[in-house]
């Protein structure tokens, strides 16, 4: 029984994983700068923010929803966090504030979707504008910069030679994997996405769990904001533009179905790395910016095409 369970859990990621490996192999051949420890750590670090936000997105998409507001929430959490840091709040408290702003914004999405019965696309599209506006108003349009070394260590520091953002990312993925596979929240996330009515008729408190999922997405956007702010030593009200597309791309490349009910968190990590490695490689190769867009678009399409073809063969 174990192997069957194992395969059904991990087998679906094969396609994308192979895609990632092929991509890495190609880059290894094309440039000597790619396959070095510092560069790989570099890629991991650059991928971390998108990868973390994509975790929340994965939960949301498994419930057959979508969250377009993540980028704006990053900006809003960021400026609030920055302002309280500058006001002298101790770092742990300030972090809590940053996470809290993200969580609350996400919960507002959740409430609009559950009690307001808005389609997630609309609710989070609205929130995308509202949170962006809030960030601009709050900061009067100006970046808020300059923080203590202890705060900045969150992004610039290393633990066992591994950049802290990478460690945070790994922890988030471990926790998310655990939650999705072993807890009620995870189970209901799948159930709601698979058949909301059936879940509701089975006694699942659909509203509560949906709201939690959007709250989680907001919370992780808040976490992304913390790392971003520490990394740039500045919080900008215009940060995070189009982050939602990157997060959605990572999730879907990773095999999560936009129809809901299906998806694995490991896949999302692979998806985020495909995007990160690709950007890194294009920079290393010095490919022109115009061509980069075309290449990124094509690779996204290709990655999912390969995955689909492999899936078809397996069934």
């Amino acid at each position: 029984m174990v192997p069957k369970d194992f395969l059904s859990h991990y087998g679906r990621q094969f396609g994308t994983l192979i895609g990632l490996l092929v991509l890495m192999l190609v880059l290894w051949i094309l440039t000597p700068h790619f396959f070095t420890v510092p560069n790989l750590l570099n890629v991991a670090q650059q991928t971390s923010i998108n990868a973390i936000i994509a975790v929340g997105m994965t939960f949301v998409i498994i419930t057959a929803g979508i969250d377009l507001s993540v980028g704006s929430i990053v900006a809003f959490s960021g400026v609030v966090l920055a302002s309280v840091l500058q006001a002298g709040l101790p770092v742990p408290l300030a972090i809590a504030v940053g996470l809290g702003v993200g969580l609350l914004s996400g919960l507002v999405n959740g409430l609009l979707i559950t009690y307001g019965r808005l389609p997630p696309f609309i609710s989070t599209l609205g929130m995308m504008s509202v949170a962006r506006g809030a960030a601009l108003l709050y900061s009067q349009g100006r970046p808020i910069s300059g923080f203590s070394e202890s705060f900045r260590l969150l992004a610039t520091g290393e633990t066992f030679h591994i950049p802290n953002p990478v460690i945070i990312m790994v922890l988030v993925y471990a926790a998310a994997h655990f939650v999705l596979t072993r807890t009620k929240l995870g189970r209901y996330t799948y159930a709601i996405g698979g058949n909301e009515e059936a879940a509701s008729l089975s006694g699942v408190n659909v509203r509560l769990y949906k709201a939690m999922v959007y709250g989680l997405s907001g919370l992780l956007s808040g976490l992304g904001a913390i790392i971003l702010t520490a990394r740039l030593n500045s919080a900008q009200p215009i940060a995070g533009v189009m982050y939602e597309l990157d997060a959605i791309a990572a999730t879907v490349i990773g095999g999560t179905s936009l129809m809901g009910g299906e998806g694995r968190i490991v896949g999302t990590l692979i998806g985020a790395f495909i995007m990160g490695v690709l950007r890194n490689g294009l920079n290393l190769l010095g490919v022109s910016s115009f061509v980069q867009q075309t290449v990124i678009g094509s690779v996204i399409i290709m990655a999912v095409l390969i995955d689909m073809a492999l899936k078809k063969q397996r069934t």
């Binding site: 923010i49 300059g146 971003l228 189009m242």
Partner: protein
């Protein structure tokens, strides 16, 4: 076999811009390419997809550090946000040259970062020049509208700040509308068309870039008011110059991006060869109008 795409001769210099989706930066790239050709250096040009995305710009710089380029020229998307990336380049022993947008001195000093030189002009100053021109044209009395860039974007804010300062110095001039058109031509059209509805008395327009100004002049034309409203843009892109030539636009602030790109590569080449650079290489910023359009 792992290839190496660098030409054997000459050092490699990187030029990292805010974006390439803007003729201003394309001109800068052309200048850099011209210098690179002359000096026989390898030039790598990279830019973020979106002008506001500092984090992507930082990623590009990190990646170029991995690639071990010998010098990096940057047009910062954020004057303070770029500092950590500069510090990283410093640590890797790669000289950093700044173009177009100044790095925040305080933040840089606090972080212990260093830049070899700043090549560029001052957006704030450009805004001020535009303001003074409009004040003069209106004879110190009149109603002005502004088209802003993306809210919260530094370049636009600096231009806006300079312009407002010039206006504040002349009490007879009133700013009757200041709205964003997000740097874009079509939004410039729509927003100014709307402003014309609520403020048909508007006498002059300052747009924080030429794109918005070019959209606005079409809206003015559609309203049959061509020639009645003074329009000043920023960047003097090709379309802007042409409009000035035709008289549909009155002026634009020019920053000579080609010059900046060229200077940057030349200076970087000198630095690599052990020579030093002056801390500030000013590039002329000026207003062009029909008179000095050559």
């Amino acid at each position: 076999q792992r290839g190496n795409n660098q030409a054997a001769a000459g050092p490699t210099i990187a030029l990292v811009m805010k974006t390439l989706n803007n003729p201003f930066f394309i001109d800068m790239q052309l200048g850099a390419e011209a210098a690179a050709k002359a000096l026989q250096v390898n030039l790598v040009v990279q830019a973020a997809e979106r002008e506001v995305d500092v984090e992507k710009q930082m990623q590009i710089i990190e990646n170029l550090i991995q690639r071990k380029v010998q010098a990096i020229c940057i047009t910062p998307s954020g004057s303070r946000e770029i500092v950590p990336a500069i510090v990283k380049a410093n640590r890797a022993g790669i000289p950093v040259l700044i173009l177009d947008t100044r790095v925040d001195e305080v933040a840089l000093a606090e972080a212990g970062g260093q830049v070899a030189t700043f090549i560029g002009s001052d957006n704030f100053e450009g805004g001020r020049i535009a303001g003074e021109y409009i004040v003069n044209r209106l004879g110190g009395l009149g109603k002005v509208a502004i088209l802003e860039g993306i809210p919260g974007h530094e370049t636009g804010d600096a231009r806006l700040g300079g312009f407002r300062q010039a206006i504040e110095n002349s009490p007879g001039i009133e700013i009757i509308a200041s709205q964003t058109a997000n740097w874009e031509r079509d939004q410039g059209y729509n927003v100014f068309q709307n402003i014309l509805q609520s403020h048909p008395e508007v006498q002059a327009l300052f747009a924080c870039n030429d794109m918005m100004a070019l959209g606005a002049i079409e809206a003015i034309a559609a309203a049959g008011k061509t020639g009645e409203i003074i329009v000043v843009g920023f960047d003097a892109v090709a379309d802007g110059r042409e409009a000035i030539g035709r008289g549909t636009m009155d002026g634009s602030i020019v920053q000579h991006p080609f010059e900046m790109g060229k200077l940057a590569v030349e200076q970087a080449y000198q630095l690599i060869n052990g020579q030093s650079s002056p801390a500030y290489i000013p590039v002329n910023i000026e207003l062009i109008t029909k008179e000095n359009l050559n």
